[in-house]
Every structure is written in structure tokens, then in C-alpha cells.
């Protein structure tokens, strides 16, 4: 293989550079941005429901909370702030004007029955009253209607919310985020604090932190380059892995640009890992190249050829394992993971091409590196440690066998932790940023008072109907309205369900009461279909264009019941879904269900529930497939089932540590964490593959197994440690990222890398030394291989 590449080095080299040029062009087209909806499984019924009924509002919901430190909001100054803030929110770009609600909004009203008259009153529109008595009346009315107003004014009267939704797809998080920050500054004072929560704010913080993230990115790159320089002791071509890493990065980013995907700043850490992988393979190649230069009397062409021939099989195996790790995450149908998977596969494919094809070509054109000056005597303590480590796998005894048993225990504990892994978000707030970050402080302050997550239940008529004076559509049948009322009340018994917004409690019942002289006994659903239809159209008459469609669509074929939740943690979502299922199951007797069906769950809560549904299974399917690929490739490359099993077990041992850490650090399996876990599986097995391949190579040269292991660890082991140092050094700055996700994932990866180094360099060789599997000796017994080798050597 090496010979073929070098024979056609000019053509192959130019072709690769041309391809890189094309990718480079597309890389320049890549856009930075976040598409929220791409984080959820596209074909999940909940996500389809969200898309089908997007007209009921989107997940891009902003909640601005005006909170006073002393007193309550019922004074002219604060009420005025609430109203002005409402008007200013209406001016934000891409805001859905129909969706803006607050105490100061004209859409938030109550009805009053007077003899011969029904009057709708906004709480304070168009003007905030200055008269203290009028302000007290606002307070009184809010309290009377506290059930409907709970999502806008707190029970203690200290906080009020301004809520708005933005149009999905065309929302520019950057612009909206900074305009929201301006509003916060404008309306804050000594006694007034403005808190902001919602997806536009969460995603917007990604841009806020972007400059710092870029610094961290370059800092980590700098550290990696420094370690690389020190490891290769400044040899003339020490920088070669940087070049190949850079070129494969162009392939990866170019592919992202070519496909029109957006580059999410929060996902930067995943892209970083891919870059680190490139460099890691490059370092392995370069390290072996220097070794082979010495072995071949500094004949660079021979060294390039031998290195390529020897490194390609383990390199191919390692990269295929990496690709498997990343490709299978696309199985869940989550577009963002699909983008990571496809671009990551191309990136790693680029890495394979660049390291094992382009790097030898490049090295063949570059001047031959000069021999290094004789090394100074190593310090005694260092040599002692190095000897201990190198001898550990080959030295039988309690330590070695104990380590093998400990790995068994680790697998069991990791397995338990993996099975018990929490799905979805475990805490309120966003896991993207640190718990004490401003965004999480804000979210937690708001969620103490107002619901932040909304789940949609769509009530859909089974038969299509049209508006007619002679016929009441099924959506307005009394039993259908009653079904919705009962469902809402049933859900409200869950403490995490803060409020229900639906046509039954918010329109039909209060209008029925008001229409019947305000008598409390009429605060219910009318018996006659005509009455329901009459009340609904009475309501529609008084609404702004499009406003009524926030409740029931124009053709009266479907309507919405909004479930306002305090958070979207796994527990809350699970509980609500269980309640819904139970209600629908127990309500099968209801004739209303012959007219309509209740479909759930749309809204942002539905999106997260959909992700939770997919992630748990995706996690296990992904691990299964990756391990399957590792088994298959290792079994084929080493021509041994034992080899396949051995690598799978080592893979499990090293990666289950991740589950233990996630369990301890209370990190759930989410859309954000799953790519990292998947990559980790592929990443880790590389070390073992390189180490075992070198042992095989050394044995094939006739060394005894113990000697082969020692030689492999001193050579490849050192390169693996260098790779490990480069990656860990590069990851270290991410530990200090303001983004919690980066912090947790970098710690997780450092742990993963460490366990993989231990397993790859100590445990796997220890097992090989203990079990002496035949695949190490080319599929024959150890003595047979040695006899063959010695015979070959003597002849």
C-alpha cells in the first residue's frame, strides 16, 4: 500500500489538494447559527404534531418577568413599566404580534355582566390609571381571575410577566438577544429587576459567550501544538500532524458548508474533538515514521513506505471505529445529530485520507529530518516509573490479576450506571450553561413564579366540518368542551402543571356565566350545542383578527389545550404524559371521544418529551452498533473472534467509566451529551488498537510476547501517551468554559481518555500477557510462530 501511494505521490497529492480546495470553498460558505427544531427527532409523532400545528405558537417563547424588590406591582410606576415593556416587546424582530400577553395587553381581558349588557374589560389598556382606587381595582380583578392570570401575575403580586412567541425559522437569536438585553437595561431600576427566560435567550447566550469560546478554542489549539512540539523535540517536521489535521478540518467544515448546515457555537466542543482526533492519528503516524527512519538508516522513502504499510491497518480500524461511533447517532432521526454524524464521518474520512495518504506524500517531499542529538540521561525516578509501568502487564502477580478483576467490577458498576442513566434534563433551567450563570439564575427566578414550558394537546374533530348557522361543529359540542374542561382539571392536580389554557375554562365557562347575569351556577359548560356555539362566536366577535385562532382554528376542525409546566425535566414530562394517557384511557366511555380525538403532545414540552423517547433507545442502539462494528472490524483485521471480543470488552471497560461519571455528576442523556458519549466510544478503542497492533508486529519479528509488549509500550505506548497528552491538554481549557456543557463534556472526555489509556496500555497488554491469545501470534500457537520466525531468520 505504502509503495503504491509513493509511486503515484504526485497525482494523488495534487488530487487531494484539489478536493481540499473544493471543500475549502464550501467551508467559506458555512454559516454560524442555531436551528432549535433540528435538535429534536424529526419523525417523532410529537415533533410532527408540533410542525402540523405550528400556527398555535412556537417553542421560541420569551418570558420577561418584572419583579419588584419592595411592595408589589400595583403602583403607577411599575404598572407603566409593564405596559411599556409590552409595547417594546411588540417591536422586537420576528415576534408573533398575536402572541404577546401581559397585564398591560389588550388581549388579556375579563367580562363583566351588567343588567342588559356584557362588558369586556382589559385590565389596563390603553392607559395605566394613575388613580390609586383604580389601581386597587386592577389588583382586585387580577385576584378574582387569578386562575386565568396565574401565568401573567404572581399570587403575591410582586411579579408580572410579559410573554411573547417568535416565528420559528426566521428568528435571528443574535439580534433578538441583544435587543432583549437593551430592554432589561431600560426597565431595571433600584426596585425593579427584569428577568429573561426562554429559548431565544438561552440560544442567544451562545453568541454572548462566542468571543470567549473562540479564545478557548485557540488556547486549546495552542496547547496542543506546544505539546506536539515538545513531544517531537522540535524535529524539523514536527508540525506535519498540524497540517494534516488542518486539511481534514477543511474537509469537515467544507462538508458542513456544502450541506447548508449551521455551525452551532455550543456544539464547538464536538468539532474540537474531531480536530483532536485528526491530530491524534497524525501523531501516531509521525511517531512511527521517526522510529522507522532510525530503523532504516534515515532513508525517508523507505520509512514512509514501511510506516504507511504498518500504520494503515490499525489506523483504518481506529478511524472506522471513530466513524461508527459518530454515524450511528443519526439513527434517532434528530437532524442536528444527523448533521454531526454526516459531517463527522466526512471529517474522519478526511482524517484517514490525510494522515495515511497525504502525510506520507508530504513527508516524502520534505527534507529528511535529522537524527536527534543523544538524549540526556533520564532522571532515575522517571526511569523507575517508566520501567514499572512497562513491566506491569508482563509481570504476573496480584497486581496484574487484581487489575483484571477490577476491570470486571468497573464493567458491572458502569453497566448499572448506564442502565440507570437519567434521560433528558434532570434539573430545571438549561444544562448548556453553568448553574450559577445569569441565564440559569433568571430561569430559576422566573420558574418560581411563572410557567416556562408549554405542552400542547390538540383536540381534533374526527369528521371535517364547516361553519354553518344551522349546525354546531363537533369542536363546539358541549360534551367536547366538557371533555377538555375535565382533562384540564385532571392535569392541574399535578403540582408541576401550573396552568391550563383552553377554550373551556377561559372562554365558554366564563362567557356562559356572564351571559346568564353573572350567576355563579352558570360557570359551567352549557347543555345545548347552540348555546356553546353562540358563546364562542360572541367571544370571536370581540377579538382582534387572528386572535381567536389561538384557541380554535378558523374551520373549527381543531383546537388547542395548552398545558403550562414549571419545567421540562424528565420527571415532569413523564408525569404529564402518564396523566394524559390515564385520562384518555379512563374516558373511553365518553361520547365526546367519538366526535374528537385528543392528540398529544406538541409545544416545547412535546419536543423535549420526543427527544427523551428517542434518546434512551438511541443510546443503547448506538452503543450496540458501535461495539458490533468494533467486534467485526477487529475480528476481521486480526482474523480472530477472540480479538473482536477482547476489544469489545476493553471498549466497554473504558467507556462505562463515562456512565459512572455521568451518574455522579448528575448528567442526563440529552441531545447535547449523546454525540460526545458516542464519539468517546470510538475514540477510546484507538489506543488499544495501536498498542495491540504493535505487539503483533513485534511478535511477528520473532520477539517473545513479554519482550514484544515492552517494546510496543516503549514505542507506540509513548506515542499513545503523546496523543493522550495532546488531547487532554487541548481539552483542559474547555473545563473553564462558561458553557456548562463544555465544562462537563471536557471533564467527561478527560476521564474517558484516561480510562482508555489505562485500558489500552496496561489492561489489554496485561490480559494478552496472561491469556496469550493466538491472534497475537498470527493465528497460530506462540511456539509455532517463534519456530517459523527463527527458521526464516536462520535461512
Amino acid at each position: 500500500m505504502g509503495r503504491f501511494i509513493l509511486r503515484h505521490r504526485a497525482i494523488i497529492g495534487i488530487a487531494l489538494l484539489l478536493i481540499t480546495g473544493v471543500f475549502g470553498y464550501y467551508a467559506s460558505k458555512m454559516a454560524i447559527g442555531t436551528s432549535f427544531i433540528d435538535f429534536f427527532p424529526k419523525h417523532h409523532p410529537y415533533v410532527e404534531l408540533y410542525h402540523n400545528y405550528e400556527r398555535y405558537g412556537g417553542a421560541q417563547r420569551l418570558t420577561l418577568m418584572v419583579q419588584v424588590k419592595h411592595g408589589d406591582i400595583y403602583n403607577y410606576k411599575t404598572l407603566r413599566k409593564i405596559q411599556d415593556l409590552t409595547y417594546d416587546v411588540d417591536l422586537l424582530p420576528d415576534v408573533n404580534h398575536q402572541s404577546i400577553r401581559s397585564l398591560g395587553s389588550f388581549r388579556v381581558r375579563y367580562a363583566v355582566a351588567l343588567p342588559g349588557n356584557l362588558v369586556y374589560k382589559a385590565y389596563m389598556y390603553p392607559n395605566v390609571p394613575a388613580d390609586p382606587a383604580a389601581i386597587q381595582e386592577i389588583k382586585r380583578q387580577v385576584f378574582i381571575h387569578r386562575l386565568e392570570m396565574r401565568s401573567l401575575v404572581s399570587d403575591d403580586g410582586r411579579s408580572a410577566a410579559v410573554v411573547a412567541s417568535f416565528y420559528e425559522g426566521r428568528l435571528n437569536y443574535h439580534d433578538v438577544f441583544y435587543k432583549i438585553q437593551d430592554l432589561i437595561k431600560k426597565y431595571s431600576d433600584d426596585n425593579t429587576v427584569i428577568y429573561a427566560a426562554g429559548e431565544p435567550v438561552i440560544r442567544g447566550y451562545g453568541y454572548y459567550y462566542l468571543p470567549l469560546l473562540v479564545i478557548i478554542f485557540f488556547l486549546s489549539d495552542g496547547i496542543m501544538i506546544l505539546i506536539l512540539y515538545l513531544f517531537f523535540r522540535g524535529r524539523s517536521t514536527w508540525w506535519a500532524p498540524i497540517i494534516t489535521g488542518l486539511l481534514s478540518t477543511i474537509w469537515g467544515i467544507g462538508f458542513i458548508g456544502m450541506q447548508g448546515y449551521e455551525f452551532d457555537p455550543v456544539m464547538l466542543v464536538i468539532r474540537f474533538i474531531l480536530t483532536a482526533r485528526d491530530m491524534s492519528h497524525g501523531i501516531q503516524w509521525q511517531g512511527r515514521y521517526y522510529d522507522e527512519l532510525e530503523n532504516h538508516g534515515y532513508d525517508k522513502m523507505a520509512a514512509c513506505e514501511v510506516t504507511t504499510t504498518l500504520m494503515l491497518p490499525p489506523g483504518l480500524l481506529a478511524i472506522l471505529a471513530d466513524i461508527a461511533g459518530i454515524v450511528f447517532i443519526s439513527f434517532g432521526g434528530i437532524p442536528s445529530l444527523g448533521h454531526v454524524a454526516s459531517s463527522g464521518a466526512v471529517w474522519l474520512g478526511g482524517s484517514l485520507t490525510m494522515v495515511f495518504v497525504f502525510q506520507p506524500i508530504m513527508m516524502s517531499y520534505l527534507p529528511t529530518p535529522k537524527p536527534l542529538p543523544a538524549r540526556k540521561e533520564k532522571r532515575k525516578w522517571f526511569t523507575a516509573i517508566e520501567n514499572k509501568l512497562v513491566e506491569f502487564p508482563t509481570k504476573p502477580g496480584l497486581a496484574r490479576e487484581g487489575a483484571l478483576v477490577a476491570v470486571g467490577v468497573l464493567i458491572v458498576v458502569g453497566f448499572v450506571a448506564g442502565v440507570r442513566a437519567k434521560i433528558g434534563y434532570t434539573e430545571p433551567g438549561t444544562p448548556l450553561y453553568r448553574h450559577n450563570a445569569k441565564v440559569n439564575k433568571d430561569i430559576n427566578a422566573v420558574r418560581q413564579v411563572f410557567p416556562l414550558d408549554e405542552g400542547w394537546l390538540i383536540v381534533r374533530a374526527r369528521a371535517s366540518t364547516a361553519i354553518s348557522a344551522a349546525y354546531t361543529p363537533d369542536m363546539l359540542a358541549p360534551e367536547v368542551i366538557r371533555l377538555q374542561r375535565d382533562l384540564g382539571r385532571y392535569l392541574l392536580q399535578d403540582p408541576e402543571v401550573v396552568s391550563i389554557i383552553s377554550v373551556a375554562p377561559d372562554i365558554i365557562e366564563p362567557y356562559n356565566q356572564m351571559f346568564h347575569y353573572g350567576n355563579p351556577k352558570y360557570l359551567g359548560v352549557p347543555r345545548m350545542p347552540d348555546d356553546v356555539m353562540g358563546l364562542y362566536f360572541l367571544f370571536v366577535q370581540g377579538t382582534a383578527p387572528g386572535e381567536a385562532e389561538e384557541w380554535i382554528n378558523l374551520n373549527t376542525n381543531d383546537g388547542i389545550l395548552r398545558v403550562l409546566l414549571s419545567d421540562h425535566t424528565y420527571k415532569t414530562l413523564n408525569n404529564v404524559q402518564a396523566r394524559l394517557a390515564e385520562f384518555i384511557h379512563r374516558r373511553q366511555w365518553d361520547p365526546a371521544l367519538k366526535k374528537v380525538e385528543i392528540v398529544y403532545m406538541g409545544g416545547v414540552a412535546g419536543l423535549y418529551a420526543a427527544a427523551n423517547d428517542v434518546l434512551y433507545q438511541l443510546d443503547f442502539i448506538n452503543i450496540t452498533f458501535v461495539l458490533g462494528v468494533v467486534f467485526l472490524f477487529c475480528a476481521v483485521v486480526y482474523r480472530s473472534i477472540v480479538a473482536g471480543v477482547l476489544f469489545v470488552i476493553s471498549c466497554i471497560a473504558a467507556n462505562f467509566a463515562a456512565f459512572i461519571y455521568m451518574r455522579i455528576a448528575d448528567i442526563g442523556i440529552t441531545i447535547d451529551t449523546i454525540p460526545v458519549i458516542s464519539l468517546g466510544i470510538g475514540l477510546g478503542v484507538d489506543y488499544g488498537i495501536y498498542a495491540v497492533s504493535r505487539i503483533c508486529d513485534e511478535c511477528a519479528e520473532g520477539k517473545r510476547l513479554e519482550n514484544a509488549i515492552v517494546t510496543a509500550l516503549r514505542g507506540t505506548g509513548a506515542a499513545v501517551l503523546a496523543t493522550f497528552s495532546v488531547i487532554v491538554g487541548g481539552l483542559a481549557p474547555w473545563v473553564f468554559s462558561p458553557v456548562l456543557f463544555h465544562n462537563e463534556m471536557s471533564v467527561l472526555l478527560i476521564i474517558l481518555m484516561s480510562t482508555n489509556v489505562i485500558v489500552g496500555l496496561l489492561i489489554l497488554p496485561a490480559y494478552i500477557a496472561w491469556a496469550r491469545p493466538r491472534f497475537i501470534f498470527g493465528g497460530v500457537a506462540e511456539d509455532e510462530q517463534r519456530k517459523e520466525t527463527m527458521a526464516a531468520a536462520s535461512s
Binding site: A113, P115, G116, N117, R140, F143, I144, R146, L147, P396, E401, V405, G408, I411, V412, F415, G418, V419, I423, R489, Y490, L492, Q493, D494, P495, E496, P505, H516, Y517, G518, N519, P520, K521, L523, G524, R527, Y570, N574, N575, Q577, A578, R579, E582, F583, R586, R587, W589, D590, Q617, F620, I621, I649, G702, R704, E706, N707, W770, A771, M790, S794
Partner: protein, 364 residues
């Protein structure tokens, strides 16, 4: 080459010694196999965490509860009914309550209960509700049995004169009576189709029903015929609806309603005198109170919109308003110095000193 051979012989000897020290390989291999099987078992996706809904944090009253009616049965024992089959019981005059649900419509669905009234001895009583629902007790409210009403109209009031005689009023012109304890109900549907919110019979013969368009109907033959004393037909929408009526005897009675309407008669309804109310808030209920046991009542109480409790002396004097809550109070009842008013927002207020002070039991 010779050196290499020697080296290999040494290592072979070392390997043989090392092997002797190793633990039994078979056991370790079995262990590894077992671990692999456990993992393989883990590859099958496990069911999600147990999906048991959490229980409600609400016990007595929920913010969306509506209580429509309250009445004392025997001394100290008080009942309240409301939407979705809510039946609340107090055995200490209204200080503390327990709750149960009756009148099931289907699983997870109950009928609304609009009225509860007991006979003067407190043993028999009726609940009137949604969709023609009638429930009767003969043991002071412990057990309730449904009775065929023959109507699907809402029954807003059943006034219990005795264990055998009761009168009912409701939506769409509904007036009904029974003289056999509720086994049969005779309907006297009014063609006007007016809503009759309340009905009051101080004795078995004389009764008054009040409703929309300031209507007061009167009967002096146990409901066989009804004649209007006021209103009686669909008229000007500006006429206030009357929500409640009470008579101390066949001559003295009160009616209250929309827009703070307060009407009084001292001659069996021949004349109704308008009393100036302290506010234009609607009053939903009216009750006599304050009399010594067996004696004539001394006070009149009304409950209404925005938590208003109206109090005035029978003998005269200006009515006064108290507002222990902001939630509309649908009904009010007194038993000696104990008084209870119930309403929207799951509200129950209680007094143990004849109305001088009211305490919110639930609803705030």
C-alpha cells in the same frame, strides 16, 4: 542468534513459573462471560421509568372549584355542594370540613350540584343538580339516593318543606313539586321558558319562584297554579334578574338579585318594596338569621359578587356589607351563631359569632 535463543529459554522458564502462580483461568473466563451476558441483556432497551402519576397536592378545595349551595341539617352539621359532584361536610358548624364526590357521570366526570336544602327537622333533604339530577337523603345527609326527575333541565333549587313535600325550580321555565317524598315529581313548566333561580315555600301551600326579568311568581295552591307578582315574561333586558327569595312566613319575604336589587314584602307579595342597597353588586342568596331557637329571625343576610356579605336588621336599618373574600359567594346559611357562605374559587367562609367576624376556611 545464540543469545536470542538463550534469552527465549530464560523467558520460557519464567513464564512457566508465572503460570503456576496465576489464579484458575476457567473461573476468570466464566466471570468475563457472565459480564458479557449481562451487558448483552442491557442492549435490549429497557422500559422507561415507572409511569405513575403523582397524586394531587389539593385536598379540600382546588382553586377551580365552584361551591354553589350550603345548608345546615341538624345542629352543628353543615353541608355544601358544588361543581363536579363536590359534597362537603362539617360537623362543627363549618369550622372544619371533609369532602367526598357523588353523582358520577362516568369515570373521571361528575354532575354539577346546584342546591342543597334540608327539612326543618334536618333529617330529610334534597340536592338538585345539572341535567335534572335529584338526590335525596333521609338520614341527615349521610347517604344520598337519586330520584327520577323526568327532566334534563338544570335544577337550581329544591326547597324541602317536609320529608314528603318539596318544590324545585330551574332552567327553561322549570318548576316542579313532589308530595310523595320525591318518588314522583310533577312539572309545572312555564311557557315563558324563563330561568327560575330560586323557589321558597314557607309552608306547603304558599310559594314564590324568582328568576330572569325581575320575575316573581306566586302560588297559594301548592304549585298547581302560578301567577306573576312581578315580571313573568321575556321583556326588557335591563330588568334585573332575581337570584334568590326567602320567606319567613306566608307574609314576610325578601328577594335579591342583579344590580344590587333588594326587594321586601310584608303582605305575601301583594307589594314589593325596593330597598336601597349599599352597592350595585349582584346578590346571589338570602337567608334569615339571628333569631332565638324557635323564635322569629332578627337579621337578614345576603351573599353576592366579589365576596360581598350583606347584613341588615329585619326591623329596619341600613344594610351593611362585609367582604371577607374577593370570590363571589353563591349561598349562605346560618345555624344559631354559626354561619357559612360558599362560592367560587373553592371558597368557604365561616363565622362562629353570628357574623361579627368571618374567617376564610378555604379559597384564599
Amino acid at each position: 542468534m545464540r543469545l536470542a535463543v538463550l534469552e527465549s529459554i530464560k523467558l520460557a522458564a519464567h513464564g512457566a513459573r508465572a503460570q503456576a502462580k496465576e489464579p484458575p483461568r476457567k473461573a476468570l473466563r466464566c466471570g468475563v462471560l457472565a459480564l458479557m451476558l449481562m451487558f448483552a441483556a442491557g442492549l435490549v432497551p429497557l422500559p422507561l421509568a415507572a409511569q405513575t402519576p403523582e397524586t394531587s397536592s389539593y385536598t379540600l378545595a382546588k382553586p377551580w372549584d365552584s361551591f354553589f349551595s350550603t345548608a345546615f341539617s341538624t345542629s352543628g352539621k353543615c353541608y355544601a355542594v358544588g361543581a363536579e359532584g363536590a359534597l362537603l361536610t362539617s360537623t362543627d358548624g363549618g369550622k372544619t370540613w371533609s369532602r367526598r364526590t357523588i353523582a358520577q357521570r362516568g369515570d373521571l366526570s361528575w354532575w354539577d350540584l346546584f342546591s342543597i336544602r334540608f327539612t326543618p327537622d334536618g333529617n330529610a333533604g334534597w340536592i338538585g343538580g345539572e341535567n335534572g339530577l335529584i338526590l335525596k337523603t333521609t338520614d341527615g345527609g349521610v347517604t344520598w339516593n337519586s330520584q327520577p326527575s323526568g327532566t334534563t333541565e338544570n335544577i337550581f333549587r329544591i326547597d324541602a318543606v317536609s320529608a314528603s313535600t318539596a318544590y324545585a325550580s330551574g332552567s327553561n321555565g322549570l318548576l316542579m313539586s313532589t308530595t310523595d317524598g320525591g318518588a314522583h315529581w310533577q312539572q309545572q313548566i312555564q311557557k315563558s321558558g324563563l330561568i327560575f333561580f330560586d323557589i321558597a315555600f314557607p309552608d306547603a301551600q304558599h310559594g314564590w319562584a324568582v328568576g330572569e326579568f325581575e320575575t316573581i311568581l306566586h302560588t297559594s295552591d301548592a304549585g298547581k297554579t302560578w301567577t306573576p307578582q312581578m315580571g313573568g315574561k321575556r321583556a326588557n333586558f335591563k330588568l334585573p334578574a332575581l337570584f334568590a327569595v326567602r320567606f319567613a312566613d306566608a307574609q314576610h319575604g325578601w328577594a335579591v338579585g342583579q344590580g344590587g336589587t333588594l326587594l321586601r314584602t310584608d303582605n305575601g307579595g301583594a307589594n314589593w318594596q325596593t330597598i336601597t342597597a349599599p352597592s350595585d353588586s349582584p346578590m346571589y342568596s338570602v337567608v334569615y338569621a339571628g333569631g332565638s331557637t324557635g323564635g322569629a329571625p332578627s337579621q337578614l343576610w345576603g351573599s353576592g359578587d366579589g365576596g360581598a356579605l350583606l347584613r341588615m336588621g329585619i326591623a329596619g336599618g341600613s344594610p351593611r356589607i362585609q367582604t371577607p373574600t374577593v370570590f363571589s359567594l353563591s349561598d349562605i346559611a346560618f345555624d344559631g351563631s354559626n354561619g357559612v357562605a360558599v362560592g367560587l374559587g373553592g371558597t368557604i367562609v365561616h363565622t362562629s359569632d353570628g357574623g361579627a367576624h368571618w374567617k376564610v376556611v378555604t379559597g384564599n
